[in-house]
């Protein structure tokens, strides 16, 4: 396997890790309005991701940093081309991070309500926009011979990309609902399961339509296989949720996300950002890649660092493995 092919895989893995992990914490953010009945329940939800959301977000920073290093042309074209959506995502990430940390730091009702709105809206917006962005990447955008994006903001808004946005939004929210039922006790746990069932049904329809559309547009044998895994895992997640097997349900909703994004990356390969103007102007794993020396260096770094990261992040989940409920939330704020 070529180094640039390997790095395409590794970047896909980083994105998939990001969506698997931060997927459920975006979902939890959205659920603070859909599921929680009062402030204490909101806090139960927020605290299920409290110790881990920050670590989850680093998967994004690693994915973007690795893209910069391994495929500088991809990084440059994507971020300068999708300027305003990226700006909105970054702005939301800022507000969202601050909202988690600051919401509980003052007792005033208005202060807390404002930050709760912020958590909901930023989680929802980012979850939606990542879907829009990835759908556009797969579909192809107006890239010229100099690898510059020549389209406008309006070009990024189309039925396929909006559907992509809805898919990530609903899928992450479903994943979050399953996570909530896995991590809470009491009444909120039961309601999380019921909500997951309803969300899951909507999600399944959207995911199916989007993946079939993607398959007909750019698919091949491998992407079809990934699509099959995604669909089966989603059905399994729904079934496990109905059966009350929360751990299984969460693992399977995670696999759905992983397989769906794997499918998008497989559909892309060997392109990283196809041009809708002329196929000769596609950004590919070869013309967007860094030099073999840099890629080799990065490979060593990833080979050593990634297992260690997985080990201590896994340990974090184990330390905080206990379910929490309203009784664990002190009254003070």
């Amino acid at each position: 396997m070529n180094l640039h092919d390997l790095w395409f895989v590794l970047i896909a893995v980083l994105w998939i890790g990001y969506f698997f992990l931060e997927g459920f914490d975006f979902g939890i953010g959205v659920l603070t309005k859909l599921l929680a009945r009062d402030r204490t329940e909101k806090r139960v939800l927020i605290n299920t991701i409290g110790p881990v959301w920050d670590g989850n977000e680093v998967w994004l920073l690693s994915a973007v940093g690795a893209t910069f290093a391994a495929f500088p042309e991809w990084y440059a074209t994507l971020l300068s081309g999708f300027y305003l959506p990226i700006l909105l995502i970054v702005g939301c990430l800022i507000v969202r991070g601050v909202a988690f940390e600051y919401r509980h730091k003052r007792p005033e009702d208005r202060w807390q309500t404002n930050w709760e709105h912020a958590i909901f809206w930023t989680s929802l917006t980012i979850a939606f926009l990542w879907g829009v962005a990835f759908a556009n990447i797969v579909r192809g955008v107006k890239i010229d011979s100099a690898m510059e994006y020549t389209g406008t903001l309006a070009d990024l808004v189309n039925v396929y990309s909006l559907l992509g946005g809805l898919v990530t939004l609903t899928l992450f929210t479903f994943h979050g609902a399953v996570f909530a039922s896995l991590k809470t006790v009491g009444d909120i746990r039961d309601r999380a399961r019921q909500l997951a069932t309803r969300l899951g049904a909507v999600t399944a329809v959207l995911v199916l339509v989007f993946l079939i559309w993607t398959q007909t547009m750019r698919g091949d044998g491998t992407s079809l296989a990934a699509m099959a895994v995604a669909v089966l895992a989603l059905v399994g997640a729904l079934g496990a949720n109905l059966a009350g097997r929360e751990g299984w349900s969460f693992a399977l909703s995670g696999i759905t996300i992983a397989a769906a994004f794997a499918m998008l990356f497989l559909a892309l390969f060997p392109n990283v950002m196809p041009s809708s103007l002329d196929e000769a102007w596609n950004l590919t794993v070869t013309n967007a890649a860094s030099s073999p020396y840099t890629l080799k260096l990065m490979t060593w770094c990833a080979a050593i660092a990634t297992p260690v990261v997985l080990l201590y992040q896994g340990w974090t989940y184990w330390v905080f493995r206990k379910r929490i409920g309203t009784q664990h939330i002190a009254d003070s704020h």
């Binding site: 806090r43 927020i46 605290n47 409290g50 110790p51 920050d54 670590g55 977000e57 680093v58 920073l61 690693s62 973007v64 940093g65 690795a66 910069f68 290093a69 391994a70 500088p72 990084y75 440059a76 074209t77 971020l79 300068s80 300027y83 990226i86 700006l87 970054v90 990430l93 800022i94 991070g97 601050v98 988690f100 940390e101 600051y102 919401r103 509980h104 730091k105 003052r106 100099a146 510059e148 860094s290 030099s291 020396y293 840099t294 260096l297 770094c301 660092a305 990634t306 990261v309 201590y312 992040q313 974090t316 184990w318 330390v319 905080f320 493995r321 009784q327 664990h328 939330i329 002190a330």
Partner: protein
């Protein structure tokens, strides 16, 4: 007007605003992580409650601060691609690697263990919980190292070759990028400056409480820790600054000539204390100078030749073709002086404070707390008048801002002194911007970030003030009886969490 709003100008302003803003939180995060870890270590070793209270107090201020540091750091990683796409294409092969290393090695570390530390008070045994804050501290320092190595490469590119066919720079020796003297001295200088910021922060806040005679045991410990940090860091900053200056005199002669407003080379060259120059005509109208000092700073001897702005400009024109290779001279000149001036002022306050609190004095019986003797400056009339004491506490409080002003101007100097280059001698700033990004887009993001940052600054400062005024928390039952097993003790399964959002 059109020129003022050119995408390049706007992108530079945006980079300047977001970077200086980000760097208000970074040094405080680096130093407070280590200082909090030190205090928690003292608690684990001695079991004295004042250390635990101090850990909780400074830890809380640290968390308010790191939240902002982390989120503003995200912007940095994205804006190279957004506003500087041609830069990213040209140097991604080299510049991207330390960024990716930072995320994979340092940032994961920091972010994961900070979660464990915040929520781990009732989930982790004492020593493991302590190890978590040390991990955070190590993560922040490693993070700084990779970022500074990347920045140093822009100041002094090494270990690369130009690939004409691909039209970009390619890495040939990563080890050299990580270990070149620019990177090492800049790292040394930045880390010591970070502790200057943290030391002054601690001194200022401790002074605030001591002036009111509140929380004396905790604040006395904090004051002394802060003062000692301030002085050691001050010494380190001065030494590293001198080393970095010598490196820059060799690698970026224009930057240092501009920092001195030295128009024409001299031997021996004087150090300029104050100058009022005329950029167009290339000479100074007013100048106050210390003879020979600049030669010493540049070359370690008092009589050597130091090239001036005009000399370097001519040399660079011969080397890189026609053009103006001078940075903004007044900015370079004054930022250099503000950096040194405010840095030194904060150390002076530290030295004064340590001397004023140097020995235990007689204390009124009601204020004796055994080991926690209070600095006599606070409480006792002799030998210092209360008015002087009050004056010193006020000064100490204001000193909190000094190193922050110094570090901000330090970065402005480093980055603006390098212009018109973005990578010194290799890539001009004007060739680095995103060609496909419109003026409106850059303007939107610049205004967006500036407004968002302004609002967050108000929120942050008000929160800090609130928590500073509240002082150290009272300790609870669960604080004093940490769990003995990982995941928390089962008998407390239904007890409210020690910390929750």
């Amino acid at each position: 007007m059109e020129l003022a709003l050119a995408p390049e100008t706007l992108a530079r302003w945006q980079f300047g605003i977001t970077t200086v803003y980000h760097f208000l939180f970074v040094p405080l995060t680096i130093s407070l992580a280590a200082l909090t870890a030190g205090l928690q270590t003292a608690w684990v070793r001695t079991e004295k409650e004042k250390y635990l209270k101090a850990t909780k107090f400074w830890g809380k201020l640290f968390l308010i601060n790191i939240a902002m540091g982390v989120v503003t750091g995200i912007v940095q990683e994205f804006q190279f691609g957004m506003n500087w796409s041609d830069y990213s294409r040209f140097v991604g092969d080299i510049f991207g690697a330390p960024l990716a290393f930072e995320a994979l090695i340092a940032f994961f570390f920091e972010s994961t263990f900070i979660g464990l530390w915040i929520f781990g008070w009732d989930k982790l045994p004492k020593k493991i919980h302590l190890a978590c804050i040390w991990m955070v501290s190590i993560g922040t320092v490693l993070s700084a190292y990779f970022i500074l190595a990347a920045n140093s490469w822009m100041q002094h590119p090494v270990g690369y070759r130009i690939n004409e066919e691909r039209g970009r720079a390619e890495l040939t020796d990563f080890w050299l990028v990580l270990t070149q003297n620019t990177a090492l001295t800049q790292f040394f200088h930045t880390i010591t400056a970070a502790f200057l910021v943290g030391g002054a922060f601690m001194v200022g806040i401790a002074a605030f409480h001591l002036a009111r005679k509140k929380h004396i045991p905790v604040m006395r410990t904090s004051l002394r820790l802060g003062l000692i940090t301030l002085i050691i860091a001050g010494l380190g900053t001065a030494i590293s600054g001198d080393l970095l200056g010598k490196v820059m005199f060799k690698q970026q002669p224009m930057k240092m000539a501009a920092a001195e407003a030295l128009w024409d080379g001299e031997a021996p060259a004087p150090f300029s204390v104050f100058a009022y120059g005329d950029v167009e005509e290339g000479h100074n109208k007013v100048a106050i100078e210390i003879p020979g000092l600049l030669s010493f700073l540049a070359n370690d001897d008092f009589s050597s030749f130091v090239p001036g702005i005009n000399d370097v400009n001519k040399a660079e024109q011969e080397k890189y073709g026609p053009g103006d290779y001078r940075p903004n001279i007044p900015v370079a000149y004054w930022s250099f002086r503000w950096m040194i001036g405010f840095g030194m002022a904060s150390v002076a306050v530290g030295v004064l404070g340590l001397w004023l609190t140097r020995k235990k004095f007689l204390l009124p019986a009601r204020l004796r707390t055994g080991e926690d003797e209070v600095p006599h400056l606070v409480l006792y009339k002799k030998p210092l008048s209360p008015r002087f004491a009050k004056w010193y506490w006020m000064l100490a409080l204001w000193t909190m801002c000094f190193p922050l002003i110094a570090t901000s101007w330090g970065w402005i100097f480093t980055e603006m002194g390098r212009q018109p280059w973005v990578v010194y001698g290799v890539l001009r700033t004007q060739d680095a911007v995103s060609p496909g990004v419109s003026q409106g887009e850059v303007l939107t993001s610049m205004i967006g970030f500036t407004l968002l940052y302004a609002v967050l600054a108000v929120i942050e400062v008000r929160l800090l003030v609130k928590y500073v005024k509240a002082g150290p928390p009272e300790l609870t039952e669960s604080d004093l009886n940490p769990p003995t097993k990982i995941g928390g003790d089962d008998k407390n399964a239904d007890r409210p969490m020690a910390f929750s959002y």
